[in-house]
Structures are given as structure tokens and as C-alpha cells.
């Protein structure tokens, strides 16, 4: 069993997977994030449940979460995450035009007309930037969403930024299956 190579660090393959990492390899290639984190199994052991809770199904609909993840990843210039979540977002029902806009390839305002989604995207731009975050943007989002969703989306932006920098710094390679889907979507 092997995983994609040509990363900025060697990726741990199945026959060297540490004990705490083995469940992630049980179904085959676990993907580059797991195969990199497997070098430090206790971090993998803590990180994957965290990532799963933050990025996975929750009380917030998948479409909104993918808006956040893809927009954040595009702002931080993470090629790995942009590629992966272009596919996930497409599977969640986002249109090609919406995907292009979230990736920064078209104006957001021309595509997203829903006022709540616009507030979410402005919040992403505020949080994923540098320096203080204006309270006016937080108040604007709060006028559309309950507090718990503001908190969760803010954590989602932060977790995505963490993964963006991890994947970018370690040059994690896009999986071949993802690359194939991007070709089908003409969004390579």
C-alpha cells in the first residue's frame, strides 16, 4: 500500500503506519494529510477527530460550510485545499460559476445574491485576513445567523486556515482522483 509521493515531506506508507495511525489506512490510501500527520501519531490521533468534527456534517448545511472552506482556501492560496474542496463543493451542489467565484476567478457579487451567504463570505474575508476583525462584520453576520453558527463558522475558518498552511508548507500533492474530477469539471 502506498500513498501519493512528491510531497515536501515523505508520506508514511501503509507498511510503516504507526499503531495509532493504522485505522486510517484500513481502507487503503488515507490521503496526504493523514500520511503526513502519521509521522507524529499522537497528533494525528487528536487532529483527525477534530478536523472531522469541524469540517464534517453538523447543524450547518454542507453548502454553507463549503462556501467557507473553499473561499478561505482560495484567499490563503492553498492549492491542495482549493483542489480538494472544489470537488467536495461541486458534490454538495455548487455550480461551476459559484466554484469559480469562490476560487477568485470571477466576482463573488455577480454570483452570490443571497444576503446570508454574502454575509458569510464577507466574514470569511474579514477573519482570514490579517489584523483586527471589524465588529461591524460580526454584527452583520449575527443579524443573519444565530450565535452558535457564528461561532462554528469562525472556528471552521480558523481550522481551514490551519490546514491551508500545513498543506501549503509541506507541498502536499493533489490526489490523482481529485485531479481527475477537476478535469471533468474543467476546473483544473
Amino acid at each position: 500500500m502506498t500513498v501519493a509521493s512528491a510531497a515536501g515531506v515523505p508520506l508514511v506508507d501503509g507498511d510503516q503506519a504507526p499503531l495509532l495511525a493504522r485505522p486510517y489506512y484500513a481502507s487503503g490510501d488515507p490521503g496526504p494529510i493523514v500520511a503526513a500527520l502519521a509521522h507524529v501519531p499522537e497528533i494525528l490521533d487528536a487532529a483527525m477527530p477534530f478536523i472531522s468534527v469541524i469540517l464534517g456534517p453538523s447543524s450547518i448545511v454542507v453548502r454553507r460550510k463549503e462556501l467557507v472552506i473553499l473561499r478561505t482556501s482560495a484567499r490563503l492560496g492553498c492549492r491542495f485545499c482549493v483542489n480538494a474542496h472544489t470537488v467536495v463543493a461541486a458534490d454538495a451542489g455548487l455550480s461551476r460559476e459559484e466554484l469559480r467565484a469562490l476560487r477568485g476567478e470571477a466576482p463573488l457579487e455577480d454570483v452570490f445574491v443571497d444576503t446570508t451567504e454574502r454575509a458569510i463570505l464577507r466574514w470569511v474575508d474579514a477573519v482570514a485576513g490579517a489584523g483586527p476583525v471589524a465588529s461591524t462584520e460580526r454584527d452583520a453576520l449575527g443579524s443573519h445567523l444565530p450565535t452558535h453558527e457564528v461561532v462554528e463558522l469562525t472556528m471552521l475558518i480558523g481550522a481551514t486556515m490551519m490546514l491551508n498552511r500545513f498543506c501549503t508548507a509541506l507541498e502536499l500533492p493533489t490526489a490523482s482522483a481529485t485531479a481527475g474530477r477537476l478535469d471533468e469539471l474543467d476546473l483544473r
Partner: protein, 278 residues
């Protein structure tokens, strides 16, 4: 009672914590798990760290310590450190017994009054098959050293590592036991185990392939992290094996201990002894 102590008392977790003091060795045995040799990287645990591990191990409820390598006695400061460790918990140190000039044995003398044993490798009753896998003149050197250790009051154990593809005959085993008794080592201090096919043994096609259940879950601390067993932090082709890595974190010891406990929980007691790899 701590979770570790409960697990040890219940037979779920072995009580010994091992430390890889170093990876270099004056020998380069054919079946070495760690590809140790005079040219291997030292990758030492510092004496201070070994003392900390011992104290942490006792506080967590572990009952015994083990020191292995490499050849631990390549470290010039080891004798005094061993006495400090044995003052914390009962100790066994593994050695090839080729680095025991009289002066070093004198420095080991305090161990005679402590719960400590030196486990020496001696594989055959005859020099030729013993030295073939270990080193020229190894048999003679070891047979010379053991009585001098025993004479100084030190407890010596002998570990015989055998090639399962060339099992010793009853006559050979009998002569080996006669030899260790003659050297002053009791029957209960003689262990026989198969070559484990990891490290240099795997490269040479020697030994048995251990399944995870064959290796006792004895927490093993190295400079690279905490492992499942002293047979786990092996090296092949110059690369450390990570398949039996538990955690990179070793300090506090509670971190790898908790992870190891999680891994072993649910396994029935005694399931680690199928191959008798001890």
C-alpha cells in the same frame, strides 16, 4: 491505583519500561534489530533523561526497568547511572559482555546490592556457531566475562537467540545449559528466544516474522519516540521502522503510557506470548 498500575495488576500491560540508551555497538551481529555497529549513529538517551524516565515510570505504576541498545556499555557513564536506575525500580540491562575490563566491573559493583541483572547474549555452547552470527572471538570473550561478573556478586542472565531455521539439537541445548550453569548462571536466568525478522535479520532473511500479538506491549523509550516493544524501534536500510511507533512524545511518560494502554485494552491477557519473544 493508577490506570497503568491497574492494567499491570490485571495482566493487561507488562510492568517493564525499556530505554534504548544508544544505538551504536562495538559489534555488528547478523541478526541485530537495529543495524547497530561501531559506525551506527549513537542516538543516545542522556543519563538525566534516563533517570527522569525511571522516576516517572515508578510514579505511573510501572514495576521494572530495562536498558538496551546498541551496546549500552559503549556509554562511559553507564555503570553509575544503572545503579541510580536500580535504586528506583528493579532493572535489567542487556549487554554483549565484551566491554567488561576489571575496572568497569568494579564500577558495577554497587549493582550487586540492588535489584539489578545484566542480561548477556550467548547463543551457542560452541564458539563457531556463536561467533558466526555475532563476532570473531565473541564466545571466548563472553565466557571469560560472565564468571568475573558473577564473582563480583552481580546477577547475570543469559539470553540465547536462536535461528528457527537451524534449531539446536537436544544435545546442543543440553550443552548450552551445562555451560551457563558452569559459568554461574541459574536455569531461571537463562532465556531462549527466536531471532526476530526485523532490522538486519530481515535484510539477511533470518528469523521469524512477529505478528503484533507476538511482541509484549512493553513501553519502550528511544530518542525517536515511544514504541510498542523493545523489538519495535528497529532499523533497516538505515531507516527507523515506525510501524510499531506509539507516540513521538516521551515526556511526560504519561503520554505514551496512556496511548499504549489504549492500544492494549481489549486484548486478552497472555495473548502476547505466542512466540515466546522475551
Amino acid at each position: 491505583m493508577s490506570a497503568v498500575a491497574e492494567a499491570i495488576a490485571g495482566g493487561v500491560l507488562p510492568g517493564r519500561v525499556w530505554m534504548y540508551s544508544n544505538y551504536h555497538c562495538n559489534l555488528a551481529c547478523a541478526y541485530c534489530l537495529t543495524e547497530s555497529s561501531p559506525h551506527a549513529e549513537r542516538r543516545e538517551l542522556a543519563a538525566d533523561r534516563m533517570r527522569e524516565i525511571a522516576v516517572e515510570a515508578r510514579a505511573l505504576g510501572f514495576t521494572d526497568l530495562g536498558v538496551t541498545g546498541g551496546e549500552p556499555f559503549m556509554l562511559p557513564w553507564l555503570p553509575e547511572t544503572l545503579a541510580e536506575l536500580a535504586d528506583v525500580l528493579p532493572l535489567v540491562v542487556l549487554s554483549n559482555a565484551t566491554l567488561f575490563p576489571p575496572a568497569r566491573i568494579e564500577r558495577l559493583a554497587p549493582l550487586a546490592a540492588l535489584p539489578a541483572a545484566i542480561q548477556v547474549s550467548l547463543d551457542h555452547a560452541d564458539p563457531e556457531p556463536n561467533d558466526a552470527l555475532r563476532a570473531v572471538h565473541n564466545f571466548a570473550t563472553v565466557v571469560d566475562a560472565i564468571p568475573r561478573l558473577v564473582e563480583r556478586g552481580l546477577r547475570v542472565r543469559i539470553a540465547s537467540t536462536v535461528d528457527p531455521d537451524r534449531p539446536q539439537s537436544d544435545e546442543e541445548r543440553t550443552r548450552l545449559c551445562e555451560l551457563h550453569r558452569r559459568l554461574g548462571v541459574a536455569d531461571e536466568d537463562h532465556v531462549v528466544r527466536p531471532i526476530v525478522r526485523r532490522g538486519r535479520a530481515r535484510t539477511g532473511g533470518l528469523g521469524v516474522d512477529p505478528l503484533p500479538g507476538d511482541l509484549p506491549a512493553e513501553l519502550t523509550i528511544t530518542c525517536d519516540g515511544a514504541f510498542w516493544s523493545p523489538f519495535a524501534p528497529t532499523v533497516q536500510g538505515g531507516r527507523l521502522d515506525t510501524d510499531l511507533l506509539v507516540t513521538r512524545t516521551t515526556q511526560p511518560l504519561a503520554t505514551p503510557a496512556a496511548a499504549l494502554l489504549r492500544l492494549v485494552q481489549g486484548r486478552p491477557p497472555g495473548s502476547d506470548a505466542d512466540l515466546g519473544i522475551r
